[in-house]
């Protein structure tokens, strides 16, 4: 029994232990940042490793918490992302006095996500959600002295509070119409009466807010721009991924009876999201803001994939998330290094970047190509499979629309590449000394971007463990 508990909770446990260790370290006499960072990275590595041992399917706390191969894999992805991020922010955290607080916040939020993913009950889900959001709001404000940072945090906390209020209203109505909070039982009570539909829409809106789908996305850009790069990348990759996993889980497992409805909802959201995301991304000059909108557009494609409501759909989603982790973090990695060492965060600053930093330029370029979905990078496969999943529904209007939007997205990704390679610049960013750890992280990402696509085993594995409708 207890053994079961440990096995099934192992990832959460490791995290918890790590968090407490950090607290103790904080209390104890202060060590050098480097040593702490190395310690943390190693610990995260262990945490990541923990995922891959002894898989166990089962439920705990009478259905509050359940786990299976898929869920564990999803958590592994999040761990991986967390590890990469922490490696990339090495340069930035080395100088910081509060790096432990940073990790405390980040890891707590990660822990929250784990619970959210594993949740088998709306209450549990809500707790996990909040637990993952609130620390991030604090983390967004990590640059205490920066005006933008606190503005971002304010916007994040207020709008997320609002969204959770909406979400809760939805949950309350669900509860009112079904009388239960447990997913497994809930399904039976879903009959799509108006109140329930309303509840569902409120719920979806809550999700849409977290994954920043249009029109619930407006906080995204500001928060991404204001908060430190590390937090931004965490927001853009990990929290988004976690919520998406949960969303798929809910839609495919719980709201099956009203599948036809939520398909339409997703279509509407997807179309709006892709279009608006692209249209805004065209104009951006601040790199983080640019990536914010590009990630919004990406979410649109993900929604198309989910709307396929097939095993291919969910598999492609997870697959895409994996690729997205690599490519987006590769991009953010470069940005974070540049902003940490030079404080420059604008695309226009990257003009002539190739002349001074060929290595970084290639990393960034490959990342962008992967985001744009150009072969042979993995992004091509990811996007294509999402579209395929969507096409399965035979809604070719949507697919064409998305495909043409890919052209727009192409424009702004190439715009950056153009700045890097082609534009002349009298004062380009000088040659940067990239810390070994960050370099390593980037290489991992690039390798991931190349390999995940061409090596079909990855996809086939994900497909084998993922769920259909």
């Amino acid at each position: 029994m207890i053994y079961n508990l440990i096995i099934q909770l192992r990832q959460e446990l490791v995290l918890t232990v790590l968090i407490f260790l950090l607290l103790f370290i904080k209390l104890g006499k202060d060590r050098s940042n480097e040593s702490i960072l190395n310690f943390i990275n190693v610990a995260l590595l262990i945490n990541l490793g923990a995922g891959f041992c002894c898989h166990e399917t089962g439920a705990l706390f009478n259905g509050m918490f359940n786990t299976n191969v898929l869920i564990v894999f999803e958590k592994d992805l999040l761990n991986l992302a967390a590890l990469i991020i922490s490696m990339q922010s090495y340069a930035w955290l080395k100088e910081s006095k509060h790096l432990i607080e940073f990790y405390l916040l980040i890891l707590t939020s990660l822990l929250g996500m784990f619970f959210m993913i594993s949740s088998g009950n709306l209450l549990m889900f809500y707790l996990g959600l909040e637990m993952s959001t609130i620390p991030l709001a604090a983390a967004a404000n990590f640059d205490l002295t920066k005006r933008k940072s606190s503005e971002a945090a304010m916007k994040l906390i207020l709008s997320s509070a609002f969204s959770s209020a909406i979400l809760l209203l939805g949950i309350s109505f669900l509860y009112g119409t079904s009388g239960t909070l447990t997913f497994s039982i809930l399904t039976a009570h879903i009959n799509g009466n108006p109140l329930q539909m309303f509840a569902f829409i409120l719920l979806i809106s809550g999700f849409a807010f977290k994954i920043s789908a249009v029109p619930f996305h407006l906080w995204t850009a500001d928060v991404y721009e204001g908060s430190p790069v590390a937090v931004t990348s965490f927001l853009s990759v990990i929290s988004k991924a976690a919520v998406l996993f949960t969303l798929v889980n809910l839609l495919y497992k719980v709201f099956t009876p009203i599948a036809s409805t939520w398909y339409l909802v997703l279509v509407v959201l997807a179309a709006a999201t892709i279009l608006i995301g692209n249209l805004f991304a065209i104009r951006q000059d601040n790199f983080k803001r640019f990536l914010a909108f590009s990630s919004i557009a990406q979410v649109g494609f993900i929604l198309i994939g989910i709307s396929g409501s097939s095993q291919i759909g969910s598999a492609s989603l997870i697959y895409f998330i994996l690729i997205y982790i690599f490519s987006n973090l590769a991009a953010f990695g470069v940005v974070s290094v540049v902003s940490a060492l030079t404080g420059k965060e604008n695309i226009s600053d990257f003009k002539g970047f190739y002349k001074t930093n060929p290595m970084l330029s290639w990393v960034l370029t490959i990342a962008l190509f992967s985001l744009a979905g150009v072969p042979p990078t993995a992004g091509f496969f990811g996007k294509l499979f999402l579209m395929m999943a969507g096409a399965a529904k035979g809604n070719y209007g949507l697919i064409t629309f998305a495909a043409l939007n890919m052209v727009i997205s192409f424009y702004y990704y190439l715009r950056v590449v153009k700045a890097i390679f082609m534009d002349e610049n009298a004062t380009p960013i000088e040659k940067l000394q990239v810390p070994a750890v960050s370099k390593l992280a980037m290489y991992i990402c690039v390798a991931g971007v190349i390999v995940t696509g061409l090596a079909s085993v990855v996809y086939d594995y994900i497909y084998s463990i993922s769920i259909g409708l």
């Binding site: 709008s159 909406i166 809106s205 407006l218 409805t261 805004f280």
Partner: protein, 655 residues
Amino acid sequence: MSNYLYILWIPLLPLATFVILGLFGRKYLSGIAGILGTASLLTSTILSFVAAKQYFFVDGKVNGIFQKIVALKYTWLEFSPNVSIDLGIIVDPISVMMLVVVTSVSLMVHVFSLGYMKGEERFATYYAFLSLFTFSMLGLILSANIFQVYMFWELVGVSSFLLISYYFNKPSAVAASKKAFIVTRFADLGFLIGILILGFYGGTLDIGLLIERFTSIHSTQFLSITSASFLGASMLTWGLTLVFIGGAGKSAMFPLHIWLPDAMEGPTPVSALIHAATMVVAGVYLVARLFPVFSMDETALTIVTYVGASSALFAAVIACTQTDIKRVLAYSTMSQIGYMMFALGISKNGGENGLGYMASMFHLFTHAFFKSLLFLGAGSVIHMVHSNEMKDMGGLRKLMPVTHVAFLIACLAIAGIPPFAGFFSKEEILTAAFHENKIVYGIALFTAALTSFYMFRLYFNIFWSKEATVAAHAHDAHTSHDDHSDHGEGPWVMKLPLIILAACAVGVGFVPFSQLVTSDGAALETHVDVVFSIAPVVLSVLAILLAASFYKNKNEKSDKVASAFGGFYTAAYKKFYVDEVYIFITKKIIFPFIGQPIAWADRNIVDGFMLLLAKTTAKISESIKGLQSGKVQNYALYFFGGVAVLSILFIYIWK
């Protein structure tokens, strides 16, 4: 039937010369290029004479009829199982006759050029092009497949282009070459479509088969092509007319003749070869080649007749007014070819009625010799005087006796004075015309008179009129690049061809042509009817005397007459403004009203539309940026709005 495969070597030798000179001539062989070319062509000439002897006098005839022999047939490009381009060699009277003509004239030109082009920088290139042309011309002659004809047709065109633009840094030469190529290309389009039509209905491109199928009234092909009609004319008419347009383009028939006078920008020997003797008669040859088919269609033949006749007259009139001697010759060429054309046009296929056909071929044969003689003569004159203008000439008979005599003979020949070659062939043509079509006969007669007039105008202007001052020409001779022999007339290599050709101009008239080349291959009995031939001869003589009185010694008569004609004279002098019309059409209509609009539209409309898409996208994105107001309360408001919209959609509308 013995083997004629060796004929293959006749075109291949010049080709080989071209390749060798083209690749290495410039660097290594510039010294011996001329000799090389001439030698290889000499071989070809000998071979073709051998072939002629064998065909005409040994085994060409089978029970009195000359056979069409296909000596070689190789499928070169297969379009579909039965429609394909087969490279072949056809041996029949006209092709053999043309072999002789082309090789011998070309040989003369080769020899002449040895002197004329001596010391040119691109001497080897010149001979390479010359060989290329000879090759293409021979290939054209021997073609057994109508598409093969087209191929060599194009090659002939391009080699003429290369030769005209031989002095490539002389803008006028470049312009002329462009004009020549483009005008003929335009005509070739007609030829091509003609081929497509004939090939489609005939179900083959092989000339033999086409003739066979289209001449038997009951063959399915014939029925289908005559039954199919477009704009009231049967497809057969269309096909033949289009093919004829191709021929007219090459043979400088009105109104496609405009390139020929300009083409005189090329070196004079080239004019002698291409624009007098060989290429320009390709059109005639083409019609002759397909004559059996033509003879099945009245309309087409009528077109041929009148185009030919009008060109003959038109050109003759213009020729009377030109002052550039080469241009005069060019127009006379055009006029003579007009003769050949209408001779074909009025002819029937086979038997007595085939007289026109025979006559036309005969005239082609004789004309080749005296016309090339005229050009080479003019060449050596120009070579000495360094000018094409009559006014710079005069009284040259003392300075260049050989040229003078040769030129005189040629003039007599073209004027149709017995017993020179031109007399016989012209006689046949006139006879045929007289029997078939009186109008044409009239035109022909008048043209004949004009011909002798302008030819002797030319002759007197060059060799008589004013007394030439030896000093002037000696001076010219001095400045001219290569050393002259004693009295200014080029070296022996330039005189020899003149002499030989002069001999031909006298002699070839006596060839028993009607025995050899006829529409149906059977010998044709012709007799020179003295009574009949009085009229033309007398006319010619009168014309010559007139010319003599005008131009033998400098006097004002000619100018008086010219002014008497007034507007007509200037019109003729300005070549009846045909060029101006062309220039107007291209420069004033096609460029500004088709080309530029399209180019503009491509940039501004088609491409503009693409750009517009981009711009609109950018504009939209600019206009909606207000959504991201930065006010967290608006964000919440939009959030709520989204909820509201979704709820309405999914609860009330799309339940």
